[in-house]
Amino acid sequence: MFEEKLKELEPVFYPRSIAVVGASANSVKAGSAWVWSLVSAGFPGPVYPVGSSGGRIANLDIFPSLRLIPGEVDYVIVAIPRRSVLELLDDCIAKSVKAVQFFTAGFSEMDAQQGLQLEKQMVEKARRGNIRIVGPNCIGVYCPEQRIPFIMGALGKSGCVGFASQSGGIAGKLATLGMARQIDYSKGVSFGNGIDLDASDFLQYLAADPKTKVIGAYLEGTRDGARLFNTMQAVARVKPLVVWKGGRTEAGAQAARSHTGSLASSAAIWSAALRQVGAVEVYSLEELTDTLLLFQNLGRWQGRRVAIIGGLADGGGGMSVSAGDACMDNELEVPPLSPETREELSALLGEAGSILHNPVDVSQAQFRGLETLFRAIDLVARDTAVDAVLIQEDIDIVLPIYSQQGLEEISEFFIHLRSKQNKPLLVVLPPGSSEPERLQTEQKLLKGSIPVFCSVERAARALSNLNRYSFRRGLVDPSLTQPVTMPEPG
C-alpha cells in the first residue's frame, strides 16, 4: 500500500546531497547550526552551505548562491527570512532541486491573509518546478539511517519507529526522548504548516516504508480532513498508529491556530475519528513515547492479564495495591495465579496467603538469596493464567539489600528470562535517591529490549494501548491476530 510514496519521498529521506541556505561563518544562525549538525552526524553526501556573507563553516566553503554550487543538489534546507522564499524557489528550480524544507516561519500561522497568499504562491511555483515542499515553519527531516539529524544535531540509532509531527519542538523532543529510552527511529519528520507535503503524505510514506514497523504522530489540525481520515484508516490496518492530538482544549486550539495555522474541530470529534480509523489515541508526550517503546519492543500483543510483582526486594505492599489499581483502571486484569504456582511459591518462599495471589510479594526471597528470587519470578512468568509480567523494582530498596552486584545480576536475569519466556516483561524503575544506579539499570534493561517505565501507571497505560490496537486489528481481520511473538533481543 502507498508504494508510490517511497519513490516520491525518496529525495526527502534519502537525499544524496544537501544544501543549507542561510548559513554564515561566524554566527549562531539556524542555517549554521544545520551545517554543523549534518557534518558532525556524518551525512554521507556533500553538504553545501549557502549564505550571502561568504567565508567558511565546518571546513566548507559558503556559496553566495544556490546557483553557484558546482554539483547536483537533491535537498535544500532553508533558514532565511520569508521575503526571500519565492526567489529562493526560483534558484531551486534552476538547480533542479527535488525537495525543499523551510525552517522559515511567519506564514499562515502568523498572518492569515498575507501568509496564506505567500504559501499559495510557493506551492504553485514548486509544483511548476516539480519540487516538493516540507514545511514551512518546521525542522523537517530526521533519518538516522541516512545520517540526517534534526537541527539540534543528536542522531541516535536507526530503528523501526517512524513519526510525523506538526510541531518542530515536539518532533525534536520525541527524537531525543527516544535516545534516552532506546526508542530507535527509522524516520521522523516535522512538517509545520504542511502546505505541500502534509501529515497524510508522511503517514502514507511511513506505512509503505519497509524500515518502519510502528508509527507515531503529533497532529494539531488538518487542511484536508477527509484525506487524513482515509489515510489513517488505511495506515492503521497495516501498522500500529499512535496519535497524539494537540489543541484539545479551547486554550490549546487557540495556540494551535497561531502555531501551525490549524482549524479546530472539537476534541470529541477527533477522538471519534481516531477510534474509528483504528489508531491509538494518546494524550501526552510521555504516553506517546511509552506506547511507541512498548510497540517497538513487543510488536503486536494481545493479552490483558497481568501478573504484578509489587516489591522486588521489600516495601511492596502499598505499591502492589496501587499497581493493581493502575492495571484495572486501564482495562487490564490482575487475575489470581494458578493454585499450582501459588503452591510452589509458598514452598519456595515459606509464605502463604493472599500475598501470593496477584499482586505477588516476593520480598521473602531476600532471606534466601537471589536464586530463590529468580525461581520465584520464573514461576510467576510461567503461569498460564497471566499474559504479561509487570515488575516494580525500586533501586533505593534493592540496592541496600542485594548490593550493586546483585542489582546487575537481577537485570541479567530479566534479560535472560525475556529471551526464554514467550511473555512480555515490563519493568518499573521509580526515580528516587539512587539515580545513577537507576539510569544504569534502565539502560541495561532497555538494551536487552525490556521496556522500562518510571511509574506503574504509565506502564499499565502503554500496555493497555498496545492491547487496544491489537484487539481492534484482530476484530477487523482475524488473520492479523498473531500468536504471541517476541522480537529477538538486541
Binding site: 489540525g221 488538518t222 480532513g225 477527509a226 481520515f229 482549524l263 479546530a264 474541530s265 472539537s266 470529541a268 470529534i269 471519534a272 475519528a273 477510534r275 474509528q276 476484530l475
Partner: protein
C-alpha cells in the same frame, strides 16, 4: 421565533427520509380542519397534530403540538387551537398546514443527528434522548461514512448504554435496528451533500425496531 429559511418542514424532511428507507412515523400534511380529521381517521386514533412551518422551530413552546388526540372531535379542536396559538405567537410565520401522525407507543428515546465538522465533514451523533443528551452531553460521534460496526461501537460508547440493554424488567432495545438506522442516515447524508444539519429527535428504540418520530433537516 427562530427563523431558518433553509429548514425543511417536518413533513418534507420525513418524506425525504422515508424515500431513503429510514424508518419514520407516517406523517401527512393537512391543509384544512376537514382534511386533518379524515387523515386522523385513516391512520387510526390516537393521533398527534403539529404545526408545519419552516419558520417555527420550537413547535411545542408556542402551542404548536397536540398529543394523544383520541377522536375526530378532539382532532378538530386541536387543529383550531394550534392555528390560533401559532398566529398569536408568530404572526409572521408562514404556515403550510398541520401535520397529522399516529401517536406511537412509547419506547426508549434516542437521538441521531448529523452536523458538519470544519475538518472532517459530515459527522453522525448518537445519544439518549432528553436530559442525558442535554445536560450530561452523553453522546458519541463518528465520521461519515459509517460501517455497521462503527454504528454498533458508537451505540455502546455512551454512558447510558445500559438503558438500551433493558433495565427494571424493560425489554432491551433492538441494537441491530438502531445500527441499521444509523448506517442509513450516514448513507443518506453522504448522498445529499447539500444537507447541513439533520436531527432525528426522538427516535423510538423498540425491542424489535427503531422509528424516527420527529425529524429536522437544514440545507446549506
Amino acid at each position: 421565533m427562530t427563523k431558518s429559511h433553509n429548514a425543511l418542514t417536518e413533513v418534507e424532511a420525513k418524506e425525504l427520509l422515508a424515500k431513503a428507507r429510514i424508518p419514520v412515523v407516517e406523517t401527512k400534511l393537512a391543509r384544512s380542519k376537514r382534511e386533518a380529521i379524515s387523515m386522523s381517521k385513516e391512520m387510526g386514533f390516537p393521533v398527534v397534530l403539529k404545526v408545519n412551518s419552516r419558520d417555527v422551530i420550537h413547535k411545542s413552546d408556542s402551542g404548536g403540538v397536540k398529543l394523544g388526540l383520541a377522536n375526530a372531535t378532539q382532532a378538530g379542536k386541536a387543529y383550531s387551537e394550534i392555528m390560533s396559538s401559532i398566529r398569536q405567537a408568530h404572526p409572521d410565520a408562514r404556515i403550510e398546514g398541520i401535520s397529522v401522525q399516529p401517536m406511537v407507543a412509547p419506547a426508549v428515546e434516542v437521538i441521531v443527528g448529523m452536523s458538519k465538522d470544519p475538518q472532517f465533514g459530515p459527522v453522525i451523533m448518537f445519544g439518549l434522548g432528553g436530559i442525558l443528551v442535554e445536560v450530561l452531553k452523553d453522546v458519541s460521534f463518528r465520521i461519515v461514512p459509517l460501517t455497521e460496526r462503527d454504528a454498533g461501537e458508537m451505540i455502546r460508547e455512551i454512558k447510558g448504554y445500559p438503558i438500551l440493554e433493558g433495565y427494571r424488567g424493560q425489554k432491551p432495545a433492538s441494537l441491530p435496528a438502531l445500527e441499521k438506522l444509523i448506517v442509513q442516515v450516514s448513507r443518506f447524508v453522504e448522498k445529499n451533500s447539500h444537507i447541513r444539519e439533520l436531527d432525528l429527535n426522538p427516535v423510538f428504540a423498540y425491542p424489535d425496531r427503531a422509528l424516527a418520530v420527529d425529524a429536522r433537516i437544514i440545507l446549506e
